[in-house]
Symmetry: C2
Subunit: 295 residues, 2 copies
């Protein structure tokens, strides 16, 4: 991976952090404990979803300031989903991004409210995004609501919880993850499309396909890392899936086959970018970057 | 109250129910348990917030089909907030709208996800509302996000939980309720304004003021009913505030003074509608209707 690209990732991460800083209420604003906990829950993380938005924006030739709002919104939704998923009634996790989870650092009621408030803020950020035309803002809100709701991310989480202790077939497992993590990752690419005034159907199709492939590859990789990764590197508890008796790709198709499948999906994701020619590198690099992650 | 008005309320309640039916996924759609629980959590209730939107729409001379989306959205937000507020880590309630609360009927994880999905749906409904111009939809989404987030409803709930066992002053109590219930009630009136293409600043000021007054009156009445009401009539557990050692208006200012204050606020709410002349009755009737509620 080029040094140039590493710099660019760092630039986008800092850009996102600054944008989040502007849209999150100050930590001392009333009610301070809630706002402090909201900021705590948005700290850190790999920011892959935001990077996909900025990367797609580069491929489409969009100015970065058209992408700050969707990048913030998607990271706020992602952060809220982690806070709620970690709750004792859900995955019951103590560790997230290398620190105590929100309900361990604060308390359970605060964690519920933090998630609720981050979700509202995500939609508010898009609705208030004056750098974008009204039509683009509305399309993004539609995508985010559809991708994160009961037919997307939240629906996937419901199926995931209901499937504990059950053995899923490969199609069932894939459907679960298309909802749970895939929908939101796909929305990153589509929101960048929404910001593009001169988008062709072929471009949208290619980016949508890239999003689907990366989303699935990411999840398979997650399952593999849960087995192979160390807690210190992961920043969350390793081996959780086994303990929770969750169906995973390695469990359903075998560890080596799962690793091979992820490689194929990443390769296919890079291949679908061909129509973008020499504009494709930011998303090619991101595919490499995600493929190379250790946590 | 006129028979005509009772019929009209029934008409709007049925209209809202039909609109909710259209926007909520079918109870057998995948994942079925989640969708069934979402519908369960949206059943019943007084629908006061939706009635305020339809009532304000009548006062402003708007067609009812411009108001279905905001009426649904506000009731979805209200329903999600009740599901989450009832959770064991929050108010820990077993009874809501005369039936088991969502986490008692289903389970805690489902209740968390139901709330999350209802919130996403609320914003989705507004973004997809083709009966409204793009600008109106965006303004409504801004209002709903601001009113329901950490500087509105969720912030109020956080302060409410943090205040248990503490004695609040009257200004602190009022600030709490302006956030917790007031912001969303006020948003009902303002969303109707957003749908109005020919709104004058005076009209918006009057409706905003009406919303603030009704919101506060409603909360004082809630505290009074918690003391005076019977569980059967309330549809929720009575005397909860006392048990939870919550500051209430009757506790802070005395029962009689609280009842008197509510009467004055309802009177003032009716008075601010004077500029609407003979268009005011729907909101005058609604003030009477809310003032006369027994639960």
């Amino acid at each position: 991976m080029s040094i140039d690209f590493s710099h660019r990732l760092e630039f986008y991460r800092r850009r996102l952090q600054a944008a989040l800083d502007r849209c999150l209420p100050p930590a001392d604003a009333y009610p301070a404990r809630l706002h402090e906990a909201m900021r705590y829950s948005c700290d850190g993380g790999k920011r892959l979803r935001a990077l996909l938005i900025y990367g797609a924006g580069e491929v489409l030739g969009l100015p970065a300031d058209a992408l700050d709002a969707p990048a913030c919104a998607i990271e706020l939704i992602h952060a809220y989903s982690l806070v709620h998923d970690d709750l004792p009634a859900m995955d019951d996790d103590d560790l997230r991004r290398g620190r105590p989870t929100c309900h361990r650092q604060y308390d359970e009621a605060t964690a519920i409210l933090v998630g609720d408030a981050l979700q509202a803020l995500a939609f508010g950020v898009l609705a208030h995004a004056e750098a974008l035309p009204e039509g683009a803002r509305l399309k993004m809100i539609q995508r985010l609501a559809d991708a994160s709701g009961s037919r997307g991310m939240v629906g996937g989480q419901a199926v995931d919880l209901a499937s504990e202790g059950q053995t899923l077939s490969l199609p069932e497992l894939e459907s679960l993850h298309i909802h749970k993590t895939g929908a939101l990752i796909r929305a990153c690419l589509l929101m960048a499309c929404d910001a593009s005034p001169e988008l062709t159907p072929d471009q949208q199709y290619a980016l949508d396909r890239y999003g689907k492939l990366i989303g699935l590859a990411y999840q398979i990789q997650d399952d593999v890392l849960d087995i192979e990764g160390a807690a210190g590197e992961l920043g969350k508890t390793a081996g959780k899936d086994l303990v929770a008796q969750k169906s995973t790709y390695p469990a359903v198709m075998g560890l080596q086959a799962a690793k091979q499948r992820a490689i194929e999906l990443f390769d296919e994701a890079r291949a679908v970018l061909a129509p973008f020619g020499d504009r494709a590198p930011p998303l090619l690099w991101l595919a490499d970057h995600i493929q190379g992650r250790r946590h």
